[in-house]
């Protein structure tokens, strides 16, 4: 079997087939126990095992493995599927973040655009089964606990993460085998992950972490496998494993940005592997250069391709607007979607000129429109600051008739559009007349704005004529940021414009981000800022129409509108790259308001000691509940293993520095590999959380935790080695006994806490009290 796979791979390489074929292989066995995904993985494993047997001599090759290893993997997978899929439709209500992901899946079904600050692949993986099951997306995911009607195929929606969670078991097993750890220890790792309640809970619902963990583990597995092909660089398998590894890591990034940490780990592993080649005399300089170029090109290009691909699908599928989910995006982006803004601005003219009626949108960040209304500012903002008592100007987040402004040429005395039509260009000076009240937008010289305290700011208002003269203060110079795109012309939707006041201080019209108090109806403050070059001074024309008739009365002015065909607007078509670039920037810089002091929020240091879980769901009529909490026995061992293993490695390192070689080189090199991959993986996935300022929950720790569990198995493996190295037989027995007892304890804990992992058992308050092993765990108890 092994040689056959080997042959196939070689043939694949010669025949110029895609290397992916060689990797995932067609070595399908007659095994019809499970899904095709299993088959893929199994064949993957077999090519893996076969490589091991025919592997290179230079590197410490693990012991040859035969077909029987598959039994362990298959058993692990079956056990994983069994535990994860058992009563998958229970509880039949919205559990925790299903609230968000379910909503996104529903929007995918309706092809409606939505904005989320995480990449789309994970949501797409959730959406595929929903699509296959014929889910129509007609369900409002309103709040946690709402029961699902029969129209929501919840068991299928939850299947994808459950399968991913089950696949994690054999993948960990293989990864440890690949690192040279004994089969027993690798099996132990699989069993520990099987018995880990937190991983079970996280895999049973519509969450993204199972995908993230699976892709990270698969990526590292492929790269470890790649490392063992080092003696045959540029062979099909070498390239294949490298590409596959980075493809999986790219997929991890595309599920959640936290996957970037896995990618960093992958880069580190490949770079280190490259570094070991540099001093070797048998590798020529040319070969080194070729390796460097290939590795770095693939390390960047493959994840980027996967990432872009997921966005391509995202934007290709989500073509419609609706529900206001696209409000964060720019006007141009919104106009490129069907329905929504696109219908509103259909056939509206492009070029802005004298007499144009416009709404002005704050272009970057919180969406709102320049607004004014017939109320003056209050006499004083606070004890020290008087207002100009002119008409209020603000930025309003809703569509309103008061958002309409007329752009006027200062040289003309009317606001009518008369031929010849001359569009405004970059650098032109205009007046902005409020459509409904007819007052001019000015900066009130000498008055500070209502909320902002900076000395560089000035109040902005509409001039009501009750003050003395205002030379030039109602003149605004139009500065178009992206003037190159339109050759300097001012276009609706696409032109990003700054308005610089031509009064004394060249103030730029700016959205300050502060809310006005009650007198301003809680709208956003608009100020003049001396510093023009910043993103909050940018505006764009959204809705646009021409005003043709002279209108004297207020009613006429606001209604006399024709949708002129002077310059008809072509339908907005944005390229994928432009949409992607905008979406990407918004995702990176859209700071979501984080809820501080959430009841179940935890910080990274508390994760190690499992100080607190997260309540996911509670039954409305009994104390049955889903609560994310770890298996205390597995958890304690994993956290202890972090300490023990690094302490041992440090000890050996110090001893080696003193030329005391306590363990054989083979074991030492295995320890180094484990330290790099597993301990390094843990560090990569854990330490960055200390410097990120955000609200975190226990499930953010799970990707790192998988590595900690693997390390626990590696520690047992090493202790076993030490015991046999010392050559005292009872010690080995003792160790074996201890491990057995501990696994039994893990099993017991698993059973105890499975009731809150599955959430199907109604619990009595006493039972819950018995489960509160730590005072800080807050299970929910209904009051009688």
């Amino acid at each position: 079997m092994g040689t056959e796979a080997e042959l196939r791979q070689r043939k694949g390489a010669r025949g110029g087939q895609k290397t992916q074929d060689a990797v995932t292989g067609k070595v399908v066995q007659g095994d019809e126990l499970v899904t095709s995904g299993l088959n893929t993985l199994k064949s993957l494993h077999q090519s893996l095992a076969s490589q091991g047997s025919t592997g290179d001599q230079q590197r410490p090759a693990p012991t040859p493995r035969g077909r029987r290893l598959d039994v362990v993997a298959v058993l692990l997978l079956l056990a994983g599927l069994g535990t994860r899929l058992y009563q998958i439709d229970q509880p039949r209500g919205i559990v925790f973040d299903e609230l968000h992901y379910g909503k996104y899946v529903a929007l995918y079904m309706k092809q409606m655009f939505f904005f989320d600050s995480q990449p789309p692949l994970g949501k797409q993986l959730l959406a595929i089964p929903a699509y296959l099951a014929g889910f129509d997306g007609n369900f409002t995911f309103d709040r946690i606990g709402t029961p699902y009607p029969d129209t929501v195929p919840i068991e299928l929606l939850r299947t994808a993460p459950a399968v991913a969670g089950a696949l994690l078991l054999p993948v960990t097993y293989w990864l440890l085998l690949e690192l040279g750890v004994s089969r027993g220890a690798a099996t132990l790792a699989g069993v520990l992950i099987l018995l880990e309640n937190s991983l079970l809970t996280q895999s049973r619902f519509m969450f993204l972490e199972p995908f993230l963990m699976l892709f990270a583990a698969l990526g590292v597995l492929c790269l470890a496998r790649f490392r063992r092909c080092g003696e045959r660089p540029f062979s099909a398998s070498w390239l294949g494993w490298l590409v596959a590894g980075f493809a999986f890591l790219g997929a991890a990034v595309s599920v959640r940005y936290a996957g970037f940490l896995s990618l960093v780990l992958g880069w580190g592993l490949v770079a280190h592997d490259f570094w070991t080649l540099v001093p070797r005399p048998d590798v020529s300089g040319g070969q080194l250069a070729a390796q460097l170029v290939t590795r770095s090109a693939l390390a960047v290009a493959v994840p980027a391709a996967v990432y872009l691909g997921s966005f391509y699908c995202h934007l290709a599928v989500l073509q419609r607007a609706g529900g206001g989910y696209d409000r964060v995006m720019s006007s141009a982006f919104q106009a490129s979607l069907e329905d929504g803004l696109a219908t509103l601005i259909k056939n509206q003219p492009v070029a802005v000129g004298h007499g144009s009626q416009v709404t002005l949108r704050h272009a970057v960040g919180r969406p709102c429109w320049l607004h004014s209304h017939g109320k003056p500012y209050p006499d004083e903002f606070d004890i020290e600051r008087n207002s100009s008592r002119q008409q209020q100007v603000s930025c309003y987040s809703g569509k309103d008739a008061n958002n309409w402004w007329i752009v006027k040429d200062p040289a003309k005395s009317h606001t009518r559009l008369v031929p010849p039509f001359r569009p405004f260009r970059d650098g032109d000076v205009v007046q902005l007349v409020h459509g409904i009240t007819g007052n001019h937008l000015i900066t009130s010289d000498g008055y500070r704005p209502p909320m902002s305290e900076s000395a560089d700011y000035e109040e902005v208002s509409c001039y009501t004529g009750t003050n003395t003269s205002i030379p030039k203060q109602d003149l605004w110079k139009v500065m178009i940021v992206n003037k190159k795109d339109t050759d300097g012309a001012w276009h609706a939707i696409t032109s990003e414009v700054r308005f610089i006041n031509q009064g004394n201080l060249n103030m730029a019209l700016k959205f300050s981000g502060r809310r006005l108090p009650e007198w301003g109806n809680g709208q956003q403050e608009v100020v003049g800022d001396a510093l023009a070059d910043q993103e909050h001074t940018v505006w764009n024309v959204e809705e646009h129409r021409y005003l043709t008739m002279e209108s004297n009365s207020d009613d006429e002015r606001q209604l006399e509108v024709v949708s002129s065909d002077l310059i008809p607007m072509t339908e907005m078509q944005l390229s994928f790259w432009r949409k992607f670039a905008e979406l990407q920037l918004k995702m990176l810089f859209n700071s979501q308001e984080t809820v501080h002091g959430h009841t179940y929020a935890t910080d990274p240091l508390e994760w190690l000691s499992l100080r607190r879980g997260v309540a996911y769901w509670i039954s409305p009529d009994s104390n049955a509940q889903v609560h994310l909490v770890g298996n205390a026995a597995v958890w304690a061992a994993s956290s202890a293993a972090l300490l023990v293993y690094s302490a041992l490695a440090t000890l050996y390192l110090l001893r080696r520095k003193r030329a005391c070689f306590d363990i054989p080189d083979a074991e030492w090199s295995k320890m180094c590999t484990v330290c790099r991959t597993v301990l390094g993986g843990f560090a990569c996935h854990y330490l960055p959380y200390f410097v990120i300022d955000h609200t975190f929950f226990l499930h953010h720790y799970l990707p790192a935790y998988v590595f900690a569990v693997m390390l626990a198995a590696c520690t047992v493996d090493h202790l076993n080695f030490v015991a046999s190295h010392l050559g005292w037989r009872p010690l080995r027995l003792l160790l074996a006994l201890a491990v057995l007892l501990w696994v039994a304890a893990c099993g017991y804990t698993f059973v105890v806490f499975s009731s809150v992992s599955y959430g199907t058992t109604p619990l009595t308050p006493q039972q819950i009290k018995d489960m509160t092993w730590r005072d800080s765990w807050d299970f929910i108890v209904h009051k009688q």
Partner: protein, 737 residues
């Protein structure tokens, strides 16, 4: 050779070229001192020039000058930074006759008769020391006089550095200590071959003292501690690898370092706080940030020398303080919540001032208070409150009970409303609270001031909570009090501050006096909270770390007098100061970073590939790697952590990192010049070397001269106005001068 002989006939050029030769060889003490002296003179000249202008408060002088005044007046204040820097400023002021009377109200305020120059002079001197110290550091790292000179010049001619060092700020002091630690470390490293000698010990102790200084000026001093720590680990690692010594030798080395680099800095750091607490003995603007026990030590505070019963008993009148930074007192007043804020019941808030309306009576949950007759009985024994008890709190002035129910709170809708309810102390079951001691078990006695506790609402199970969110006008903009369903919330802790009960003996507050260590830790908690609170608001322009190395935007130090800023022609005496790094040096440094990365990788790969080279060349490369790695690491440690910081960042945060990268540029320029023999015919080497060195130094000097108006004062119209005098310097659109 030919060139030399022709020159020797002229006489003068020979001595110059001889001198340059000696300079390059760096063997001659005389040359060393000449160079050092020259640099010292230039430093003093650039730093002291126009020190007294502007004669008004510039930029953050308003903060640090104010704090110096507080030290001189001994009034307690709170600041997010540790005390050493501000105490040094105060000391400069005190010694030069500043009386602490100036307000430092806002930038632009005229100093008039105030003795402000002493403080500026002190800061400037510490900032000026950076240049000679950089010189010595690079000398110790490379033993090459040209390298040290180039490094010192890159700092000497940096306009931003001069500006930042000329004012009453913490930065010159901070950078002094950082640079001092770097210098000590490099000196100490060169003593490695004669361990346990006096100079070995003293340089190590010097480094430790400088570390203490750095971290006790600003917490960013931590980065230099990490730098020294990492190198100490490497040092110990090398010693451990020396098999000719027994392991005890390594232990000895380790203990010596623990003594000088851990213990000594810790002691000095704590000593700074000791001085801080001792000097600031009077009540002042910082009281409210600290706990009740702390306040009782401040002269003039209402808790100073107060006395009250120690235990809280049923029937006592108490005030409750929210246990957090600037936590206020639980308060109620006879005004109702408006209908939009939930049930129309009496408002409960927190209020930072002491007031009769802060007093609450402690009652048992089921029975009324002991009557006066009962209390008059001779055998009457007051019953005291224990952790876990169910209690009610009655507002003394209005006789309403502290109450909560399942209605959303006025501002924080996730929480429940807390109100005053009932008539004459009779309410309902929603008035019952369970008192839970933190760090104590059920049944423990609850003491005033020292004990922290939670109040858990018995029916709802939420915790009494307060935070900084203000109520609208109807609540007199006092702070909101809610019942938080998350009982472990940070701000759900309270303590009793005042306790009136005449049946119990009064104890003097002196017994609550926290020990120095308690005060030390409390001050740190408060500082960390304060630092975390410095978050930018939406729409606010903040400086981002990526902008710093490219010199994207400077910082206004003085814009003349903002109140008198008038349109029209500017008066010439209204000078403006703009702190911005010399772009030639800054952009050059970026180039040097890239260049070093290339050289490093090249050297590393070629040595890993076993390329043969002369022993001399290997030593030269090893020296470069040692010096530059150290400086690059220092730069990275002082720069990259800012990317992870959520607080408000400013341009001047980059300057410590800039010091190190400027030093590296010196080392690298020297390395490049010394590599000339490979590229130039041997008889041209000397001239080429001189030419390059002169051109390099001239560029630095000229660019400094070019941008000098930014540092020493600009006048005339502003940017974009007609007649702006500095248009030729506006190389980037983002510069604002």
């Amino acid at each position: 050779m030919k060139a030399k002989t022709t020159k020797s006939s002229d006489g003068d050029p020979v001595s110059i070229s001889k001198w340059i030769h000696k300079f390059r060889q760096s063997k001659d003490d005389h040359t060393w001192w000449t160079t050092f002296g020259l640099i010292l003179c230039l430093t003093m000249a650039t730093r002291l020039y126009r020190l007294d202008s502007p004669d008004h408060v510039a930029w953050d002088e308003t903060h640090f000058g104010k704090m110096a005044s507080w030290y001189i007046n001994r009034t307690f204040f709170f600041d997010v930074h540790p005390p050493t820097g501000k105490m040094l400023i105060a000391a400069f002021g005190y010694l030069t006759g500043y009386d602490g009377k100036f307000e430092f109200e806002k930038p632009g305020q005229k100093f008039d008769e105030t003795h402000y120059l002493g403080m500026r002079f002190g800061c400037t001197m510490m900032g000026a020391a950076l240049v000679p110290m950089a010189f010595i550091t690079v000398w110790e790292l490379t033993h090459a006089l040209p390298a040290a000179t180039f490094a010192a010049a890159a700092i000497l001619f940096d306009n931003g550095m001069v500006t930042l060092n000329q004012y009453i700020l913490l930065d010159p002091i901070l950078m002094f200590f950082i640079m001092g630690a770097a210098m000590g470390q490099s000196k100490f490293y060169n003593q490695r071959h004669n361990p346990f000698t006096v100079s070995w010990w003293s340089w190590m102790a010097f480094t430790g003292a400088m570390l203490a200084g750095a971290i006790s000026v600003k917490f960013v001093g931590l980065f230099v501690v990490v730098l020294v720590g990492l190198y100490t680990i490497k040092d110990i690692w090398d010693i451990l690898g020396d098999l000719s010594y027994p392991i005890s030798y390594t232990v000895k080395h380790f203990l010596a370092r623990a003594l000088c680099l851990i213990l000594l800095p810790t002691v000095l750091y704590m000593f700074a706080y000791y001085v801080h607490f001792t000097v600031l003995s009077k009540s002042g603007p910082g009281d409210g940030h600290f706990g009740s026990a702390f306040q009782s030590q401040l002269e003039g505070n209402s808790l100073h020398n107060a006395s009250m019963p120690r235990e809280i008993c049923y029937g006592a009148g108490v005030t409750l303080k929210n246990h957090r930074t600037a936590g206020a007192y639980l308060h109620s007043h006879p005004h109702l919540y408006p209908p939009e804020a939930g049930p129309v019941q009496q408002q409960v808030t927190t209020y930072s001032h002491k007031d009769y309306n802060n007093i609450w009576l402690v009652k048992r949950y089921d029975v009324d208070m002991p009557s006066e007759e009962e209390e008059a009985q001779p055998d009457f024994k007051p019953e005291c409150v224990k952790s876990g008890d169910l209690i009610r709190l009655e507002h003394e002035a209005t006789s309403r009970n502290l109450h909560s129910h399942r209605h959303p709170a006025p501002v924080t809708k996730r929480h429940f409303q807390v109100s005053g309810y009932g008539e004459n102390g009779t309410g309902d079951s929603n008035d019952v609270w369970r008192i839970e001691l933190v760090d104590g078990k059920e049944g423990d006695q609850i003491n005033v001031v020292t004990d922290r506790f939670r109040l858990i609402h018995y029916m709802v199970g939420c915790a009494l909570f307060s935070h900084n969110k203000q109520l609208p006008k109807w609540g007199y903009e006092q702070q909101e009090v809610t019942c938080n369903p998350n009982t472990r919330a940070e701000f759900a802790l309270w303590n009793f501050e005042e306790n009136y009960y005449d049946k119990l003996p009064n104890v003097s507050f002196a017994i609550y006096q926290p020990s120095f260590l308690e005060k030390f830790f409390e001050a740190h908690m408060v500082q960390f909270q304060g630092n975390a609170g410095l978050k930018p608001k939406e729409g606010e322009v903040t400086s981002r770390p990526w902008q710093w190395p490219i010199d994207y935007q400077g910082q206004w130090f003085s814009i003349g007098d903002p109140d008198k800023r008038e349109p029209g022609p500017h008066k010439d005496h209204e000078i403006r100061i703009y702190m911005m790094g010399n772009p030639v040096i800054w952009w050059g440094n970026l180039g040097f970073i890239a260049l070093y990365a290339v050289i490093y990788v090249w050297n590393f790969v070629s040595s890993a590939r076993g390329v043969r080279e002369s022993a001399q060349e290997r030593v030269r490369k090893a020296n470069l790697t040692y010096a530059c790695n150290w400086l690059m690491l220092a730069w990275a440690l002082h720069y990259f952590p800012f990317y992870g910081m959520g607080r408000i960042l400013y341009y001047h945060h980059y300057f410590p990192a800039q010091l190190f990268i400027s030093m590296m540029s010196g080392v690298l320029v020297n390395y490049m010049l010394e590599s000339l023999p490979r590229a130039v015919p041997s008889f041209r080497v000397d001239q080429t070397w001189t030419a390059f060195a002169v051109v390099y130094l001239s560029i630095l000097t000229y660019s400094f001269y070019l941008f000098a108006p930014l540092t020493y004062g600009m006048s005339g119209p502003e940017k974009k106005e007609p007649g702006h005098r500095y248009d030729h310097l506006l190389w980037m659109d983002s510069w604002e001068f």
